[in-house]
């Protein structure tokens, strides 16, 4: 009896072992394409940038070397420091504006629209422009803000100003306006997502306990919305610090950002100089993101 029972067990063992080992490697096989693509087009290029940032160069080519002059050029120049400060200034202003607008838009959608269908329709209305070309959306401000644009001609026509306002287009004002226009959705979406997950009975409980509307907002809703705000902040801050096109197009070349400086160095084939700038910018961005990630665990928020 015992022998007869053991025999099939022995026969089945190798099959079971094979299936076990196959299922053990499955996650590795499944994640391999992602790992390969990110390794080849993200990790390798960044390592290459770090290496090249120590190289020597002239007007024609780069030469492998170990120089720190690229970094001393970056960190030793007053112009570079001003450009970095300007970039951080844009990031701070755009962050504050998108956070304010994004929160109230998300709050309106999550707490004041009564049906889910209407919420989705209005959310889509906000989303659609963000799936169209960034440059087209920048250009679309020209007929509005320009010297003879809609705003100026209306103001002049109404007699509010004697002559067109010059600082509407091709100015830092235009840069900030266009960036808010381009990036607010990156704040609306994560905040909307966290607000939708707030249990409405928490709000009712706070009301029953005698909290006023502002107290509910300040002590219940905003603390619960913080993870969404943090994710939105990561998006907006990294997008603004990396921006060169908005700064170039909307300031008409009168303002600078780190990425624009890099782009100019690249067009002059000064790759090692651009690489040194890239390393400094990357450290700055990663420090900011690490700081935000200390506040919120995004893996848990998904």
């Amino acid at each position: 009896m015992t022998v007869a029972l053991e025999r099939p067990a022995i026969a089945a063992a190798p099959i079971r072992r094979r299936r076990f080992s196959l299922s053990a490697v499955t996650p590795y096989l499944q994640s391999a394409p992602l790992a390969f693509i990110l390794g080849a087009f993200l990790l390798l290029p960044i390592i290459m940038i770090v290496v090249v940032s120590f190289w020597d160069y002239d007007f024609a080519a780069m030469y492998p070397d170990f120089l720190t002059t690229n970094y001393s050029d970056v960190l030793g120049s007053w112009v570079t420091w001003k450009t970095y400060l300007n970039t951080i200034k844009f990031a701070a202003i755009v962050w504050a504006l998108t956070l304010f607008i994004g929160f109230w838009v998300a709050y309106f959608l999550a707490f004041h629209i009564r049906t889910t269908a209407m919420q989705m329709v209005l959310f889509l209305v906000c989303t659609v422009p963000f799936l169209t070309s960034n440059i087209i959306r920048m250009i679309s401000w020209i007929p509005v803000l320009g010297r003879n644009g809609l705003i100026n001609s209306t103001l002049v026509h109404m007699g509010l100003v004697p002559k067109p306002i010059e600082w509407l287009l091709y100015s830092e004002f235009a840069v900030v306006l266009a960036m808010v226009h381009l990036y607010t959705l990156f704040m609306v979406t994560p905040i909307f997502n966290t607000l939708m997950r707030i249990d409405k009975s928490l709000v009712e409980a706070a009301r029953d306990a005698g909290a006023s509307g502002w107290q509910v907002l300040w002590n219940v809703i905003i603390p619960l919305a913080k993870p969404g705000m943090a994710i939105g902040t990561i998006f907006v801050v990294t997008l603004v610090t990396a921006d060169f096109s908005t700064v170039q197009v909307m300031s008409g070349g009168q303002s600078a950002s780190v990425a624009l400086m890099m782009k100019n160095q690249m067009s002059l084939l000064q790759y090692p100089a651009a690489a040194a700038n890239a390393v400094v910018l990357l450290i700055l961005v990663l420090l900011m993101v690490a700081g935000i990630l200390r506040i919120v665990d995004i893996r848990r928020e998904l």
């Binding site: 996650p27 693509i37 960034n134």
Partner: protein, 272 residues
């Protein structure tokens, strides 16, 4: 809250929301109108008559760069990026359902891909290709550069989808005798199909509109956004708006088709 009367707060916020929507759509509609500018009209209002002159101008090859060719390249590149993004994100999403060595590192690598400034990726890939001796081209280096932007979105969406996906359905299928492949095709795939379509839309539109990453990686031939970017500095006629109108209408059609597909899949599932 739905039984309460509309408060003062509601009207203030509704007005704020309406202003926000106007802010989003106002400038876009301005260039939509101005692209029908008469032949003698300029870049701003008023309209000097209505014509299709600037659209005709757009399709003359010599007039404004290579619109047809760059559109074709952007379209093909967008479709390539879309297919790869959907497949690779789905596989990675399945992988992340289980614990494996390096999972956390890979997840943070995907997040890093999202936050690393695009011009740095552009520069890095450009330099790597130069050092290896490969010629950058829109279908190799720019393709990879776009994937570093679309994949994190796809992976995050799949991650969120599978976080909420109950394994009970798969267990039920297995109890009824389905193989793991049958379970995947007949149970998991139909349930996540709308999210996959969403990932596809992200993959296509992000690639179709991307240009900071394409800047150093496109090689000899421009993609459409690069072509438009070049035009902003040297074209001063409403042909720029005509181009804007054409690409925006195309984007809207893509979005509508996607939403239609999601609704269709949802209906078919409801009926089944």
């Amino acid at each position: 809250m739905s039984h309460e009367k509309r408060t003062f707060e509601f009207y203030v916020l509704a007005a704020f929301f309406a202003l926000f929507v106007l802010f989003l759509y106002g400038p876009l509609s301005a260039i939509l109108i101005l692209s029908f500018q008469g032949e003698t009209g300029g870049l701003t209002f008023p309209l000097n008559g209505v014509s299709l002159h600037w659209f005709a101008n757009l399709f003359e090859r010599q007039a404004v760069g290579d619109f047809g060719g760059s559109f074709e390249r952007s379209l093909v590149l967008g479709l390539m990026v879309m297919v790869v993004t959907v497949i690779v994100s789905l596989l990675a999403g399945l992988a992340f359902r289980r614990k494996f060595r390096g999972a956390t590192a890979l997840f943070y690598l995907a997040i890093a891909s999202l936050v690393v400034p695009s011009i740095i990726i552009s520069l890095g890939i450009g330099v790597v290709f130069q050092q290896i001796g490969f010629r950058p081209a829109w279908y190799t280096s720019a393709f990879g550069a776009h994937l570093t932007w679309t994949l994190p979105f796809g992976v995050l969406i799949m991650f969120a989808v599978f976080n909420r996906f109950s394994p009970a359905y798969e267990e039920a299928a297995r109890d009824l005798g389905a193989t793991s492949w049958q379970t995947f095709v007949h149970v998991v795939l139909p349930m996540i199909a709308p999210s996959l379509i969403g990932v596809g839309l992200f993959g296509f539109t992000l690639s179709y509109d991307e240009f900071a990453r394409t800047l150093m990686t496109s090689g000899t031939f421009n993609t459409l956004p690069l072509e438009i970017y070049g035009m902003t500095t040297n074209v001063t006629t409403p042909v720029l708006y005509a181009l804007g109108t054409v690409t925006t209408v195309f984007s809207f059609l893509v979005i509508l088709a996607t939403l239609g597909a999601i609704v269709y899949v949802g209906r078919r599932r409801a009926r089944a």
